[in-house]
Subunit: 257 residues, 2 copies
Amino acid sequence: VSLEPKKSQFGQLADILREAITRGEYGPGAALPSEPELAARYGVSRPTVNRAILILRNEGLVHVERGRGTFVREVPPIPRFANRRYTRAARERGQARGAFDTEIRQLGFEPSSDLVLVGEIAPPTMIAEALQLSSGKSVLVRKRHMFASQTPVQLATSYVPWSIAQGTQLEQKDTGPGGTYSRLAELGHAPSRFTETLRARTPSDEESAFLRLTEGQLVIEILHIAWDAKDKPVEVTVHVLPTHQWLLHYEWSAEPS
Amino acid sequence: VSLEPKKSQFGQLADILREAITRGEYGPGAALPSEPELAARYGVSRPTVNRAILILRNEGLVHVERGRGTFVREVPPIPRFANRRYTRAARERGQARGAFDTEIRQLGFEPSSDLVLVGEIAPPTMIAEALQLSSGKSVLVRKRHMFASQTPVQLATSYVPWSIAQGTQLEQKDTGPGGTYSRLAELGHAPSRFTETLRARTPSDEESAFLRLTEGQLVIEILHIAWDAKDKPVEVTVHVLPTHQWLLHYEWSAEPS
DNA sequence: TCTTATTTGTTCGTATGTATT
DNA sequence: GAATACATACGAACAAATAAG
């Protein structure tokens, strides 16, 4: 087997492996041949193979475990329907956590999440701005790690002004039926409008470790803001997703009511 | 100058350069020191420098021109307000092309676009499905290359069922005042609802070349569908964006009308 | 136009380190 | 402890694009 001279060898090898994976020659969870094996098979050096695989890692197509091997990604892109997640109907069905759960379960994976932080903190600048808080005001923070059958797929951190959240069930580990938005509704701050701003950025070291990203891989950050009837921001959630792991869906009508 | 042993050298060097860029030591358009220069300065080999810069390229922070040097990105992330782009108000202001133009101009850059293809074709599978066309039906395609002051920032391809577009101004280079949606409205297919599905994927060679992407960099693909009052899809546009180059904004109300 | 220096792109061979089995 | 697998790094070399003369 030999490679053409037009394109770089690592690029061609990446193309070959990508094609083999999408064709199903290496199915979800399967191990690729080892780097020395691939080097021999295609007549290139090990560093060249390594670089080809680096490309597939950046694309999220494989993940590598040192000392074990290179494995094809198991979890396909997860559809996320922004509009369906926050309807009153969904809340009343007790689907606070339901949106994520449903999305994961539909793919045949087992959803789970860890609440890794709950408490009062001074908000980061970006959050203070989003919540239109004057300096010195604190917020309630709730940070969650989310998985699809072992695989980390999302990091979500919610913020509510402390002036609203103080002394309510929002401070508890379990926010109760219907979740945060139901509690906000009871407190007279029912969300009436949502905005989301998406951008790609470099992950922090913490995010990179949790989501198992390669150096140079980007994450999608969704800044989700819930506005109440008086058009005040009452809750902000930052979702951090591996770029390749999601399908995001939005919907709106031509004439805003 | 020396590097710590904890993290990889290329990772540390990438961090150093990223910090220098965000700090403004190298402003937009400025050249970084050459690779041999950086290698000498930080006591590492040239391949190591090259790999550090590869990370910054994947992040979209710099672009490299062989034989010339490495330059800091000039165009910052461009805000794109999905909901504002397609209102009747915007159309009637004659802002068919206005949304993109406004977004670019607000950043202080000069928008431009090339219409590179107009005509009747057999639709790709994805498009045929989105338009709910039975096989054998053709579509009108309009493909555009879009720039912010020389820098390619987007590739947009629109599709309208040939049964609707045939013999109308949609076949012309200039679709006239208000653009495609105004013509569709005149034909009794005024869009009443829009959906967008976003995913990250590997670019084709053509996209990669036009958007000047590095091997391993991903693009955002937006599948935009316009639905008429009878909830039939009447137009589909595929937007292909460099992942790092855009800020995407969506908005909706809690209670769908 | 041709030549030469500069700059990045790519690749190899080799070596060492670290994690897993 | 030994074998296997991936991670990183260096030095060297040549290719290709660009710029300057």
